[in-house]
Symmetry: C3
Subunit: 208 residues, 3 copies
């Protein structure tokens, strides 16, 4: 429990930092940056909870708002320093992603949904925050064009399902599912793996 909390909070912090940094590149004021950071960190889980018809998780305890506040203060105080930690944040962000996916899957199982819904919910939990972030800063969402972010979430869901089917213990299932997300994303970024872009129908036509 304690360990999961630590990872959850670290992931929240990393997601918030990613939102705040992108907002700062658009000259948002402090409050705007805070909102973008918060939405990046809690947006996915909020949509998941709305779809599952349960109270959004961040309304049950103030930790997520506080952690985002800390992320803002850190960015204001240590802006330069934080850039050099790019790799550290990538690791946080990726571990957070793995955990967010597992949390999303478990909440959906508790709510009684079949496995394919839980996989979608895991993906929503992990990736929708970043999509809303990119909409707020008026950019085409990054995950639609770069690395295998969302696909890693799907893989995590499939691993979770296979583990459940084959009777793997609950704790091990969680760890394996999160690990598969983390490893797939790290490999994809390291080796520049990605899905092919969909060839534009129009450019196909022109190249005849």
């Amino acid at each position: 429990m304690n360990f999961i909390n630590v990872v959850d909070y670290a992931g929240t912090f990393a997601f918030a930092i990613s939102g705040i940094r992108l907002a700062s590149a658009k000259q948002f004021d402090w409050f705007g940056a805070y909102v973008v950071g918060l939405v990046t960190a809690i947006g996915g889980g909020t949509l998941r909870d709305l779809l599952l018809n349960v109270t959004p998780f961040w309304m049950l305890q103030p930790s997520y708002l506080v952690i985002t506040g800390l992320a803002l203060v850190c960015t204001i105080l240590f802006g330069k320093w934080i850039i050099r930690l790019n790799n550290t944040f990538f690791i946080f962000d990726t571990i957070g992603l793995g955990l967010f996916v597992v949390v999303g899957i478990e909440k959906s199982i508790e709510a009684g949904f079949p496995f394919w819904v839980t996989i979608v919910m895991g993906m929503i939990t992990g990736s929708v925050g970043g999509i809303i972030r990119d909409i707020l800063i008026n950019e085409v969402p990054l995950i639609f064009r770069k690395d295998v972010y969302a696909l890693a979430c799907v893989l995590g869901g499939v691993v979770f399902y296979v583990c459940t089917l084959t009777g793997v213990a609950d704790e091990l299932t969680q760890v394996l599912s999160a690990l598969s997300v983390i490893v797939m994303r790290i490999l994809a970024v390291k080796y520049h793996l990605g899905l092919p872009a969909l060839k534009s129908a129009e450019s196909n036509e022109n190249s005849k």
Copy 2:
């Protein structure tokens, strides 16, 4: 029932294709295109179900995810060919719109809302998917500027209400409502009918 299912699935397919094609013009990767296609197809019904406080329809059976997958595979395999089917897709899309509107109205009536809410829900079901699609590809939503898409949805709702008031049988009401959406949209596109643009307050001022 069977016939409605066929139309529903055809409409879903056409909506998904429209999302995938627009995503491909922005060089989204396969997964990004899938997400945009899916959101185009299910976004309106999802917002409707959240507002009505019922479980989103696509979480109850996997058909919609599968159909969007088929739409992606078709676009990857038959990209060129699909362009030539522009008119076919326009027909699918328009029939799907008519059906989506009727489904939205009926779900809202079942949930016990008055007629003006059901008209709004019919419109949300038919048009919000396309709005989210355009936000995701970072364009100003098309329906705010072109043809009478959303207005056709409102007409369908009014026809539905008038039929109900005058005691028309349920099945006939559904058919007439969907038909009015379909006919109005086809006429609007064929004869370039549309609402006037709102004159910019600023340009008014300048033209004094």
Copy 3:
């Protein structure tokens, strides 16, 4: 009750006008402008009600749709004239904001949430409509960069909480909370007060 209704409707009207005017600058057609005006007016309260899991307020009575329709008709008929009323609308808009925040806070208290959630809900009620408006017209949301719109909502929430803690009567609490929002926003606009922009991490780096 009557007085609050008048202010609520005037605020809705002012919010709708702000959406319709921005839509007209982008050449939206009448219906598109109506939708943007409506979403500006009801978007914040709708998200609040979804998060609180209650029926969205505008689905319970048609006033908000009708008022937005009036706002559209006024803009079409009196476009030029309305520009000269800029200050009048700023006052409406600001009073509406104060009231929306108080309504948001009270609904969240009724739903049984702790004070920090009610502050967030007050802010969501007051500011999310404007954020969705800016997303629909494909601009970076204004409130992230200009004046202290959202921060004024937070101040209103804090005043509300302090009043409750110190046993101030309910009606007075509402008035003081709304007034603090209104006064803070007017002062901020009059004296060009605002939060500092977050310095871009990247530009920091470059300026070394």
